[in-house]
């Protein structure tokens, strides 16, 4: 085998993308990528200032995320990991809702239950993230089987990293998808690192994409810094899935410019030279050049876009910071559809502690 860097499938090679992005769509995508990058940059600062508790940056992965999201229908279901802010934005999730989640205030749809970045938006068919690596992968397969059973012409897309290919759910999820020919797209953002573990030490296969063969379907490697390439790969995979041709594993090769999270110090394990090397293909810059070359963007226009994005970020942040905190006893909600007698008793116990001043919300 040892297949190269572009497509590892020989079974029935994906045909060329059915459609490509229009100039207007490209510009739209660029705006989303800029917004994603601007949010990232702001949030790293906010975390240092203690205004949000934690943050997982996605800089370097914008083309992969936005390109993928762009190739989907609004009815497709997203099963994210925790780094997919570009997908959320491309699906139309508002920045304000995102900041509500980062803060965990009363506007947070998840009611302040999770760390920043672990959001979910039912309306946008963006399933609420969790931290354990890989668990969303089998779930996406189940949802795809369910959609087919309901005769809904949709696909499910699950996002995960290079590290997640070692997880139990990667193995089970791809195997089930192969066996049931589930209409699922496995979208792996290989950002070269799983915290401090480099891709080569995660697994010995030449590419991650070729792991699909072990499950009887195709894997594709795509340059994840190239929005249109990603778009094409996902559009193709989607068409195949809907045509009953089964799942596809897409390995989008990207780089994580920032730390793994705000708790991480990447200097302990990687070189500045490596970062600099990958910055040469910064996806935001690449798309900017593409748009400039096509005469759709110039420096002043770009400046305006960035200012607009930063302004949007500031407004969303400020609105979120103004929003009241979650209700103190609300952490008792949603354990079940209706509280059990025991939960009611515990909530009463809690209320009494508050009343007596023992616990101070």
């Amino acid at each position: 085998m040892n297949s190269g860097a572009s497509s590892t499938g020989t079974r029935s090679p994906p045909s060329a993308p059915a459609v490509s992005l229009t100039p207007a769509e490209l510009l739209e995508s660029y705006k989303t990528m800029v917004l994603s990058r601007a949010t990232d940059e702001r949030c790293l600062t906010l975390q240092r200032q203690g205004r949000i508790g934690f943050y997982v940056p996605a800089s370097g992965q914008e083309a992969a995320q936005v390109g993928c999201a762009r190739a989907l229908s609004g009815d497709d279901w997203i099963f994210p990991a925790y780094r997919e802010i570009g997908v959320a934005l491309a699906r139309g999730v508002s920045l304000e809702r995102l900041f509500d989640q980062f803060i965990g205030n009363s506007g947070d749809l998840s009611k302040g239950r999770q760390m920043p970045n672990h959001y979910g938006f039912r309306e946008q068919r963006f399933v609420t993230a969790s931290s354990p690596i890989g668990t969303q992968i089998t779930q996406a397969v189940g949802a795809a089987i369910a959609a087919r059973r309901k005769r809904d012409p949709i696909v499910t897309v699950t996002f995960f990293g290079d590290g997640a290919t070692s997880s139990n759910d990667f193995h089970a999820g791809l195997n089930f998808a192969g066996v049931y020919r589930a209409p699922t797209i496995f979208f792996c953002q290989n950002n070269q690192w799983a915290i401090s573990l480099p891709r080569e030490k995660q697994t010995r296969s030449a590419t991650l994409a070729e792991k699909a063969h072990a499950y009887g379907f195709d894997g594709v490697v795509v340059d994840g810094t190239d929005l249109e390439a990603v778009y094409g790969a996902v559009a193709t995979a989607r068409a195949r899935a809907l045509a009953g041709q089964g799942p596809t594993l897409i390995e989008a090769q990207v780089y994580r410019f920032g730390p793994h999270s705000t708790s991480d110090d990447p200097h302990r394990y990687r070189t500045d030279a490596e970062v600099a090397h990958w910055k040469e293909t910064d996806p935001v810059q690449r798309l900017k050049q593409r748009l400039s070359a096509a005469g759709q963007l110039d420096e002043p226009r770009d400046q305006m876009l960035w200012e607009a994005a930063r302004g949007e970020v500031s407004r969303a942040l400020e609105a979120a910071e103004r929003r009241p905190p979650v209700e103190p006893a609300s952490f008792f909600d949603d354990v079940f559809a209706r509280p059990t007698p025991r939960l009611e008793a515990e909530r009463a116990e809690f209320d009494a502690l508050v009343q007596q001043g023992v616990v101070k919300p």
């Binding site: 279901w77 998840s110 189940g142 559809a337 007698p341």
Partner: protein, 325 residues
């Protein structure tokens, strides 16, 4: 009403639910063509077809993970895990995902998966076909845990589980799959969660049990009755939510409690019940609460009859309790 064994009642419950709701489906290892290794799903593939009865690859991770995805999407999956002893590859999906989906999403994503699985000893299954680890699930906020001990409850609780809006662990005492039979109502007759079943009225001591320990407790009560000791037997059957009121009321009446389960004692379900009673009925207790349980060893094979609580041990503990207080 039809006379059925416990496993037949499970089978009828599944068929009933699948007939009423096209969103209900069944998945697991050997559940289709083979009808389940205990035949709990016998006939379902034939009646409902491959789209609703899925023979899966050998992966509990995959079974529960895909079931969760199905439930999120609006189906009602009933997953079978062949033996409770083999549920651990799915433990991450169960405790990290299934139990917490509604909560972590602020109520956006309910996740009503039912996981059915045979559990418990007494069938010469040795270390890996006998365990009772219900306490793991009871300790996990977000899961309901029920255990029938009669055919009627097996069907009735299962129907409730399948229409419940939350995840339910449905543990089936395989030792009495076929040895216990009884009248089961036809149709969609549900047994509510959160209510203990009074098996036998008594005044001197309360014996709490569930699953295959219920007949054992009843047998002990017979023995005790012959000795003039009146034992109340309560089948807890719904461990989460638990009928705490019934347990407390019984002990307030009798002043004595014996808790019976097959699971190891240390941090077993009996610990919670004892703690609860010591909290809420302390002043009614005339004697220390006794726990008659499996020992704190793995489950043996050749000696399982010595490991498992039996009627003599339960009666003995009850007697001691009555004598001591």
């Amino acid at each position: 009403m039809t006379e059925l064994t416990l496993v037949q009642a499970v089978n009828r419950g599944l068929a009933e639910a699948m007939r009423r709701d096209p969103n209900v489906l069944v998945l697991g290892e050997d559940v289709g063509v083979n009808g389940g290794v205990f035949r709990a799903t016998d006939g379902l593939l034939k009646e409902f077809g491959e789209e609703r009865v899925l023979d899966t690859p050998l992966s509990e991770t995959g079974i529960v993970g895909t079931a969760i995805g199905m439930a999120l999407y609006g189906l009602k999956p009933v997953a079978e895990i062949q033996f409770l002893d083999f549920i651990y590859p799915a433990f991450d999906q169960i405790v990290s995902e299934l139990a917490k989906f509604r909560y972590r999403s602020g109520g956006q994503y309910p996740c009503p998966v039912v996981i059915r699985t045979p559990y418990g000893g007494g069938i010469k299954g040795g270390l890996y076909h006998s365990q009772s680890t219900e306490a793991y699930f009871c300790h996990t906020a977000g899961l309901k845990v029920v255990i029938p001990s009669t055919p009627a409850d097996a069907k009735g609780l299962l129907l409730t589980a399948i229409q419940d809006e939350d995840p339910v662990m449905f543990l089936e005492p395989k030792r009495i799959y076929r040895s216990v039979s009884g009248e089961v109502p036809d149709g969609d007759v549900r047994v509510p969660f959160g209510r203990a079943r009074l098996v036998r009225d008594g005044t001197d001591v309360s014996i709490f049990a569930y699953g295959a320990m219920v007949p054992v407790a009843s047998e002990a009560a017979d023995t005790l009755a012959a000795e003039g000791i009146s034992a109340e037997v309560i089948d807890l059957r719904s461990l989460v939510p638990l009928d705490e009121a019934a347990a407390v009321a019984s002990v307030e009446k009798t002043g004595r409690a014996v808790i019976v389960h097959e699971a190891a004692r240390f941090c077993g379900f009996g610990a919670e019940l004892a703690a609860l009673l010591a909290e809420k009925a302390l002043y009614s207790l005339k004697a220390p609460i006794a726990r008659v349980t499996g020992y704190d060893t793995p489950f043996p094979y050749a000696l399982e009859h010595l490991y498992l609580p039996n009627a003599a041990r339960v009666a003995h503990a009850a007697r001691e309790t009555v004598r001591s207080g």
